[in-house]
């Protein structure tokens, strides 16, 4: 085991290598020289002056260095957090977390929390908007996020377990759960996953998701993310475990299954009849989004007999002057659709909207008029794309896009046979997926008990829960 290096001025200076935001301050208190340092920007100059330097400078000049250090730690300095720090690494960690370190020569260092109050305030959710419901979304600061969760769940059973992940990034990762509600094995499993992470950094959502879920080879999400604090808290109340990562304005929930990914926060803002109807519509949207391009290719290329005659005649009429085969046309349009989406994402918001309009309306209409594509194919691809937007989970919608493309390609090879084979492969793949030990298709294995697709009445759900039934 590596020996801990004592904290000294020179060692701290060398650790930060002359970085521009490393600020030093010397104080001469009687005969004792106290050396303070902090990182500018992470700390508040006012707080350092008021809650570290001023109280220290008011200490009697007659105090010796040990007495001064003891008073600085146990009473003389009015600061909410004052921690004794003996080794270099701990002191460096404190500095990068917004502490000011005061070094008492020959004694030890004391770290005072003087974080800057400059943070992004909780704002309304940008992605998961609802008409009703809470309007506070997670921010990039984990401590603000934990406070938001505490405000929704005012119970002493709420637990946070914080650890530092990333050899270079030193990111704070917090595991959240409700004691007595969440299965302790699930909590241990998540804590173990976090503890076992031996990576340079965990700065991006993909890094968090892949590392925490064990990098399964699937496009389907095995962790559910949300920017809504109320949704996160509801997940905790359902016995799931949460993860908050410093720097990411979202919370993760595990385990996740297909049913949960099809739930929208708006479902609990409506009456159960409307919410159930919308859920059915969402499932229909999922099926159409996945199957429509493939079905069109299969029907137009292999199984024309299955189309009603007027529809077939309309398709033939629209396809007559188009030089490309149906499969090439649909796959090309799907690709163009993805390109347009990607272009819209990479550009600033206002320009992105223009791209969508130019791409979708102008180029689409021009291509149809120039008879490069048929209106039927354009309608099919656009309808599939719009149906994909009804899916509430962004990650899940992305997975559906990948599979939509694969199913369309299989249809181009083998018509309905290929489409059916692809669909079966997808269902088998989904049935084999597990999120933290829970099968991905779990809600549908107990579909007869209700609540898998339709939203149950909350009163019925409560009584089912009281009777030990599945809700």
């Amino acid at each position: 085991m590596q020996e801990k290096q004592p904290v000294t001025e020179e060692a701290l200076r060398a650790r930060f290598g002359g970085t521009a935001d490393f600020v030093e301050r010397e104080l001469f208190l009687g005969t004792t020289r106290v050396w303070c340092c902090f990182l500018d920007g992470l700390t508040s100059g006012g707080s350092i002056s008021d809650f570290v330097l001023r109280p220290l400078s008011r200490e009697p000049d007659t105090l010796t260095a040990p007495e001064l250090a003891a008073r600085a730690l146990y009473g003389g300095v009015c600061n909410a957090v004052a921690q004794r720090t003996d080794d270099l690494e701990t002191a460096a960690q404190k500095l990068v977390n917004g502490f000011c370190v005061a070094l008492f020569p020959g004694e030890y260092a004391v770290a005072y929390e003087v974080k800057t109050p400059v943070n992004r305030s909780p704002a309304p959710p940008q992605v998961e908007n609802t008409v009703k419901g809470a309007k506070d979304a997670f921010t990039e600061t984990v401590r603000i996020n934990t406070s938001l969760v505490r405000r929704h769940l005012r119970t002493p059973s709420l637990r946070f377990d914080q650890s530092v992940v990333g050899r270079r990034s030193g990111t704070n990762v917090t595991v959240v759960w409700l004691d007595g509600v969440t299965d302790p094995r699930l909590v241990e499993r998540m804590k173990r996953r976090v503890a076992e992470l031996d990576v340079d950094s965990i700065l991006t959502p993909a890094a968090a998701e892949e590392y925490l879920t064990g990098n399964r080879r699937t496009a389907f999400p095995l962790l559910q993310f949300t920017e809504r604090t109320d949704k996160f808290c509801r997940g905790l109340l359902e016995g799931r475990v949460g993860v908050l990562i410093d720097g990411l304005p979202l919370g993760y929930l595990a385990p996740v299954d297909l049913g949960r990914l099809m739930e929208s926060p708006e479902d609990l803002g409506r009456d159960y009849v409307s919410a159930s109807c919308l859920r059915v519509l969402r499932y229909a949207g999922l099926l159409l989004s996945l199957l429509l391009p493939g079905l069109y290719i299969a029907m137009a290329k292999f199984h024309q007999e299955m189309l009603p005659t007027p529809l077939l005649l309309a398709i033939i009429e629209s396809k007559k002057s188009v030089p490309f085969p149906t499969s090439f046309e649909v796959l090309g349009l799907l690709l163009a659709f993805e390109l347009l989406q990607e272009a819209g994402l990479q550009l600033p918001h206002s320009v992105g909207q223009s791209i969508s309009i130019i791409g979708g309306l102008v180029v689409g209409t021009a291509a149809v008029e120039a008879k490069l594509i048929s209106p039927a194919a354009l309608i099919v691809v656009a309808a599939a794309g719009i149906c994909g937007y009804t899916l509430p989970g962004h990650d899940f919608a992305d997975a559906a896009r990948v599979w939509r493309f694969a199913l369309a390609a299989l249809s181009a090879f083998a018509g309905l046979f290929g489409l059916t084979a692809g669909l079966l492969a997808m269902v088998i793949h989904l049935a084999g997926l597990e999120s933290f030990g829970k099968p991905y298709l779990a809600p549908f294995s107990a579909a007869r008990e209700g609540g898998a697709v339709l939203r149950r009445r909350l009163s019925a759900k409560r009584s089912a829960g009281e009777n030990g039934g599945a809700a």
Partner: protein, 164 residues
């Protein structure tokens, strides 16, 4: 991933070599036949699907093959709803019954005139008859006689259907 890529490459190779047991045809190249008019001229059977689709030959099979051979495109009988036999070709009903290209639900008519297939299809879509190829087949198996609906052709493309 490697397995998936290998599988995709194998599928693509099979498709390129034409070894896949699935044969597609482009919907844009289809020549849909909505109604088929069957007659006899100069001792030959004629089949006409309208829109320039005409075939002739000594037998039903030969006439249908001729129709397929003389057009640029794929003649599509999946959209055929009506087959109209002129009186002088009524004996071809039995051949039509055995032809797998026509759906069993295709309706069958008899006519004394020379109807245009497209015009007749428009009329019969609004006024369908009640006898189909499968009805005729069922009646033949029971050794019963089937009375076909009669399509009368008036002047100016007007039609009337007499169905008992």
């Amino acid at each position: 991933m490697k397995k998936l890529l290998l599988l995709a490459a194998a599928a693509a190779l099979t498709a390129v070599c034409g070894l896949l047991p699935f044969e597609g045809r482009e919907v844009g190249g289809l020549l849909p036949v909505r109604a088929l008019v069957v007659g006899r001229e100069n001792g030959e059977l004629t089949v006409s699907g309208g829109d320039g689709l005409t075939g002739r030959g000594p037998t039903w099979q030969a006439a249908m093959d001729n129709l397929k051979a003389t057009v640029a495109g794929d003649v599509f009988y999946g959209s055929t709803c009506d087959v109209i036999f002129r009186v002088n070709a009524a004996d071809a009903v039995a051949d039509a019954m055995r032809d797998n290209r026509l759906r069993p639900a295709v309706r069958v008519y008899l006519t004394a005139g020379r109807p245009d297939a497209e015009d007749a299809a428009d009329f019969l879509r609004a006024h369908p008859g009640g006898v189909t190829l499968q009805d005729i087949q069922a009646a033949a198996l029971e050794r019963k006689k089937t009375e076909l609906p009669v399509l009368a052709c008036g002047s100016g493309g007007r039609f009337a259907l007499y169905d008992r």
